[in-house]
């Protein structure tokens, strides 16, 4: 069990800097999800913790040790890869035992630890099989088993569920979370799927373009996104954004002195789809045409094109009646549900 610390961690490939100084502290036993679009540097950051990428500048600590110059095997970590990276010629047992064998653990203890992990992961009937004889979900478990038997102080997960089908993904999500709780091992989990991030994380690190834009609990990130990017990335469907100037006449904006492009001035307003509602023309803040309504059963997502051509998504409960496609609709919202961002994309103080 260990804490992980990042201080001003940077990574460059030649002259190109891909991670621009990440600072974060991860508590013992926490499950941290690093989420971001592809190319944001999240996998690179994880691989730097694993020791598979060098650290250009800054410092990564695991426990009390600075691990910058340590080999992966000296860092007391275990990693689960996106494509599982099982050794194809070894049985499930040998796959799980390989790390222990190299570490010189006595045979009897290896057998016991593998048996324990296999039981935990319901892999007992498959110990003699080769990876190619297993389904995707089972391979995923073997990869987890290989990590568990080593009893590391940190688990690293690199998009472990993205090769599974949707149903299995939901199931494995819960299993990984449960298992991590039970073992209490500090974990870093990289994904591009914000639903995984929201459901699994104790805290989320949202990355964009090599920066950690926000570190916080899932609900904090959802309710108080630190930047326009975070607001648009976390939450499905994403937050709607409007130029603040458009709402100036509505009287909804509060406590903001200045609207415009200057630093510190209010520039963009965000509102979650569930905080918009259809209303009569008299109460309307915004008006436009309903393009399409996606009925998902529990909820309906209405795509509205405003008069100036901007698109908004409105989420309404499934039972409610929805205007016909092409109809003119009016939207309202309340001021406490608005998020205020400056011209630099950063959240303004409430």
């Amino acid at each position: 069990m260990a804490k992980i610390g990042f201080s001003n961690v940077r990574k460059s490939y030649g002259p190109t800097e891909v991670i621009h100084g990440v600072d974060a502290e991860i508590a013992d036993g926490e499950l941290i999800v690093i989420v971001g679009p592809s190319g944001c540097g999240k996998s690179t950051l994880l691989r730097m913790v694993a020791g598979l990428e060098t650290i250009t500048a800054g410092e990564i600590r695991i426990g009390d040790r600075v691990v910058n110059d340590l080999e992966p095997r000296e860092r007391d970590i275990a990693m689960v890869f996106q494509n599982y990276a099982l050794y194809p010629h070894m049985s499930v047992f040998d796959n799980m035992a390989y790390g222990l064998k190299i570490a010189g653990v006595p045979k009897a203890e290896i057998a016991e630890r593998v048996a324990q992990a296999a039981k935990m992961l319901e892999l007992e009937p498959y110990l003699d099989r080769k990876p190619r004889q297993l389904s995707g979900g089972q391979r995923q478990r073997v990869a987890m088993g290989r990590a568990i038997v080593r009893k590391p102080s940190v688990f690293l997960f690199d998009e472990p569920l993205s090769n599974l089908d949707a149903k299995l993904r939901v199931q494995m999500r819960v299993e990984i979370k449960t298992l991590q709780r039970r073992l209490g091992v500090t974990s870093l989990y990289v994904t591009h799927d914000q639903v995984e991030a929201m459901t699994m994380a104790d805290r989320i690190i949202v990355m964009n373009g090599g920066n950690a834009e926000q570190v916080g609990t899932p609900l904090a990130v959802y309710h108080k996104p630190a930047t326009v990017f975070v607001g648009g990335f976390i939450g499905s469907p994403p937050m709607n954004f409007l130029q603040a100037a458009r709402l100036q006449a509505s009287g909804l904006l509060r406590k903001v002195a200045e609207v415009g492009g200057a630093a510190g001035a209010l520039n963009t307003v965000g509102v979650r789809p569930e905080h918009l509602a259809f209303c009569s023309e008299g109460e309307a803040v915004l008006s436009g045409k309903l393009m399409i309504a996606e009925a998902l059963g529990a909820e309906t997502l209405a795509h509205v094109e405003l008069d100036d051509g901007e698109r908004m998504i409105v989420r309404i409960e499934g039972g409610r009646e929805v205007p016909a496609a092409g109809a003119r609709v009016h939207l309202s919202c309340t001021s406490e549900h608005l998020h205020y961002f400056g011209a630099d994309g950063k959240r303004l103080p409430d």
Binding site: A50, P72, A85, L86, G99
Partner: protein, 281 residues
């Protein structure tokens, strides 16, 4: 496609007839050699040549194996086996190690070395045979197994084949091994080598036959009959001038020379085909 599979009637007979004629054309000389190895010398010399096997099979083969013409065939078979196995194993070991170095290690002039190895593809033994002979003779390796094997061991083809295979091995595998604590040697022995076994088997078959069929090189550097390999030894059995060739023994030797490569192909066929068509992921 389905039309080809479902063809019935006259067509199928014609195609089979074609195949049978083809096989007969290939097999007839071998059959002739077999017949010739079972009769006596005068019977072969007198036209027409016999087409039915004679009664001297055991005599002729015993004579070939134990006495031969210049040296016993048994000895030549042994020499050929040593050379073929030496070339095969040497080539596989050296090329898999150099491919490992080229694919997995960053060292200065890595690509330059790769292209240098690759260039040797354009210089087969026959092209560099005179300077190679000079070197081998200078080392005093004429009439030795080392001299037979060493100049043929370096192999660009095998290095290239292993390199292509290693490039298909996912990077995550080596990373998983690193996290598991395996160093470069362990990764090579525990993971890469077992994964390459079908490739190794395929190469073994190809290279064994290549080594077994070497003709010009052994002809050049072995002057003593007891160092003759079988493929060149057959040529040495032909008499010079007006001597009478002992055709039954020569034909018996020819057939004996075919057996080891055939055996290797038959026994390793399964792995061989697997190695050429599928890669295990």
């Amino acid at each position: 496609m389905s039309g080809m599979v479902e063809k019935r009637g006259l067509g199928i007979w014609l195609t089979h007839l074609g195949l049978i004629i083809g096989i007969a054309i290939i097999c007839f000389p071998i059959y002739m050699a077999f017949v010739a190895s079972t009769v006596t010398q005068p019977e072969i010399a007198r036209p027409p040549m016999p087409l039915i096997p004679g009664p001297h099979l055991i005599d002729n083969y015993t004579a070939a194996l134990t006495r031969g013409v210049n040296s016993p065939v048994l000895l030549m078979l042994f020499n050929s086996s040593v050379m073929a196995l030496g070339i095969t194993i040497g080539k596989i070991v050296i090329s898999i190690i150099s491919a490992y170095a080229i694919v997995y290690f960053r060292f200065p002039f890595r690509m330059a070395f790769f292209w240098m190895i690759f260039l040797t593809l354009m210089l087969p033994v026959e092209v560099r045979i005179v300077p190679t002979y000079e070197v081998v003779a200078g080392f005093g390796m004429l009439n030795s197994y080392t001299g037979l094997i060493l100049p043929l061991v370096a192999s660009a083809t095998a290095t290239f084949l292993f390199r292509q295979f290693f490039l298909t091995v996912p990077d995550e595998l080596i990373e998983a091994a690193r996290v598991d604590g395996a160093g470069p040697v362990r990764f090579f022995l525990d993971i890469l080598l077992p994964m390459s076994r079908t490739n190794i088997a395929a190469l073994f078959v190809i290279l064994f036959i290549y080594g077994w069929n070497q003709y010009l090189w052994p002809l050049l550097i072995t002057t003593k009959p007891e160092m003759n390999t079988i493929v060149m030894g057959i040529k040495q059995m032909f008499p010079s001038g007006d001597d009478i060739a002992n055709w039954p023994v020569i034909m018996a030797t020819t057939l004996l020379a075919m057996l080891p490569p055939v055996a290797v192909v038959i026994f390793m066929q399964g792995l061989f085909v697997k190695g050429l068509v599928e890669s295990e992921k």
